[in-house]
């Protein structure tokens, strides 16, 4: 009896019609597309995007060239060279990050004793020439200057959990 019922059901395309009904309903349903450059999905304050080097409020750069980030980086994408400045402090002369090698794990930020290297919320960037993927100290500091407000706010929001 059940076999006959199944046979009739399949002959009259019953299940297929049910499927069509479902997709037909979705056609008039709400669309979930986010139109990216104009609309964006919400981001966490812990988002790990493009890197930046921060400064102290008095304008002094934070990085002291301890090379912890270079050591911890699992992708080995950070290259640091340092020397002594006239006032006797150690500073970097070179701080390069190869963004093709970087896996955006955030270990550099975790390891930094002075909160110099950070990862910002910026996730849509591109390069137009070969070699542009390696960003240097000036670019990193410029990023830090440009987004300092956002960076500081994100760090402050995360502070109670650290």
């Amino acid at each position: 009896m059940k076999a006959i019922r199944n046979y009739i059901k399949s002959l009259f395309l019953w299940e297929l019609l049910k499927g069509l009904k479902l997709t037909g309903r979705y056609m008039f349903g709400k669309k979930i597309t986010v139109q990216f450059p104009e609309e964006r999905t919400p981001q966490s304050n812990r988002f790990r995007g493009l890197h930046a080097l921060r400064r102290y409020p008095n304008g002094e750069e934070r990085c002291i060239a301890c090379k912890l980030c270079e050591a911890v980086c699992p992708a080995a994408c950070i290259t640091i060279e340092s020397e002594q400045r006239e006032d006797g402090t150690r500073r970097t002369t070179r701080y390069d990050i190869d963004l093709f090698k970087c896996i955006y794990c955030g270990f550099c930020e975790e390891s930094c004793p002075v909160d110099a290297i950070v990862e910002t919320r910026i996730m849509d960037f591109h390069f137009e020439k070969r070699g542009d993927n390696i960003i240097n100290k000036e670019q990193l500091l410029a990023m830090g200057d440009k987004y300092e407000k956002q960076i500081a706010a994100d760090r402050a929001q995360d502070a109670p959990y650290r």
């Binding site: 499927g19 056609m27 979930i32 139109q35």
Partner: protein, 348 residues
């Protein structure tokens, strides 16, 4: 003004007149194919809770044009192991039948390029040619995926051709003519007189076979992206690939048009025979009704594609040989008996 145009038209040599008529069919058809691709992406997008292409032009209306230009500019790569002549002939053979069949498709009582008495036979003959394009393309590519795709689609198209042919034969019995204009005129009366009702199972079988014939989802094992990359047209690029694409969509439109003509009363108004409403819509030209019917059937093609998963190969063969062919043969007998005894309402 109209008279002047008529005089001018009649002054043209017959050959030129026919060329213009052909252009008047093929150019709108090509445009329809182009925009069908956009509509398909939009409809499937909507069904999948997306919004589909909307970047090129207002609301994405220029998307097909951008796609066309892109494909035109691309290089046509001919694989080194391929048979060059056949490789080029393949796509041409695929699109030619899809366009040639339109010669006998009537848009209303008088608007038909070739009003021949063997119209249905011509359609059957010409649409069967389409499979050669696929087989030749698959063979000439000299690639295992292309060859597998060609074999699959050849077997599939041949098996569904039979069910399709039987469905058309019963239309021929019911209408008593092979001429497509007369087939439509035999459905006059009301929308209940159209052949979809007395030939309901055959209408469904014809349409499903049409989906299978055009290698559309859920019968698209010939391309089966997940199994054989893209089937018979893996090796094609640029314009040669675009021609296959055009052929597939032109075939969809053709199948929808034929289903509308043979089962849904072609250019006849759906309000015919309903006393009051018939008058309200009397001003609508028949060609509009035909286009509306084609549009609805084409929408079904897209709806199917967005809904059904691909059939397994043995399921396709089972459906074609063990379900459709027996049903068509039984219904063919019933239709024959109904016509013989002049069943009232439809065949009197």
């Amino acid at each position: 003004m109209v008279e002047q145009i008529n005089v001018l038209w009649n002054a043209l040599p017959l050959g030129l007149q026919i060329v213009f008529q052909i252009l008047a069919i093929v150019i709108p058809l090509t445009l329809a194919v182009a925009y069908l691709t956009l509509v398909e992406r939009k409809v499937i997008g909507y069904i999948q809770a997306r919004i589909g292409p909307n970047r090129v032009g207002p609301r994405g209306w220029l998307q097909p044009i951008a796609d066309g230009i892109k494909l035109l500019m691309k290089e046509i790569i001919i694989p080194s192991g391929a048979n060059r002549a056949l490789f080029i002939i393949g796509p041409i053979l695929a699109i030619a039948p899809a366009l040639v069949a339109w010669a006998v498709v009537p848009f209303n009582e008088t608007m038909v390029l070739a009003n021949i008495d063997a119209g249905l036979l011509y359609i059957l003959a010409v649409t069967s040619m389409g499979v050669y394009g696929v087989i030749i393309a698959g063979w000439a590519s000299n690639s295992k995926y292309a060859f597998l795709g060609a074999m699959r689609s050849a077997a599939q198209i041949v098996s569904y051709e039979i069910a399709m042919g039987f469905a058309l034969v019963s239309v021929l019995i019911a209408a008593g003519s092979l001429n497509l204009v007369q087939i439509v005129q035999a459905q006059q009366g009301s929308f209940l007189h159209w052949f979809w009702l007395p030939l309901l199972p055959l209408f469904l079988i014809y349409f499903i076979s049409g989906v299978a014939e055009t290698n559309r989802a859920p019968f698209d094992v010939a391309e089966g992206e997940s199994e054989i990359v893209a089937g018979f047209h893996v090796e094609y690029s640029g314009m040669t690939f675009a021609v296959f694409f055009l052929a597939e969509y032109a075939n969809m439109i053709l199948v929808a048009a034929l289903a509308a003509l043979m089962f849904l009363g072609g250019w006849l108004s759906p309000f015919q025979g309903i006393p009051a409403v018939e008058g309200w819509f009397a001003w609508v030209p028949g060609i509009v009704w035909l286009f509306l019917k084609i549009t609805v059937l084409l929408f079904l093609f897209l709806w199917f594609r967005a809904t059904f998963p691909r059939y397994r190969y043995d399921q396709i063969m089972r459906l074609g040989w063990k379900v459709f062919i027996p049903i068509t043969i039984v219904w063919l007998l019933l239709v024959g008996i109904a016509v013989l005894y002049k069943l009232p309402w439809w065949f009197d």
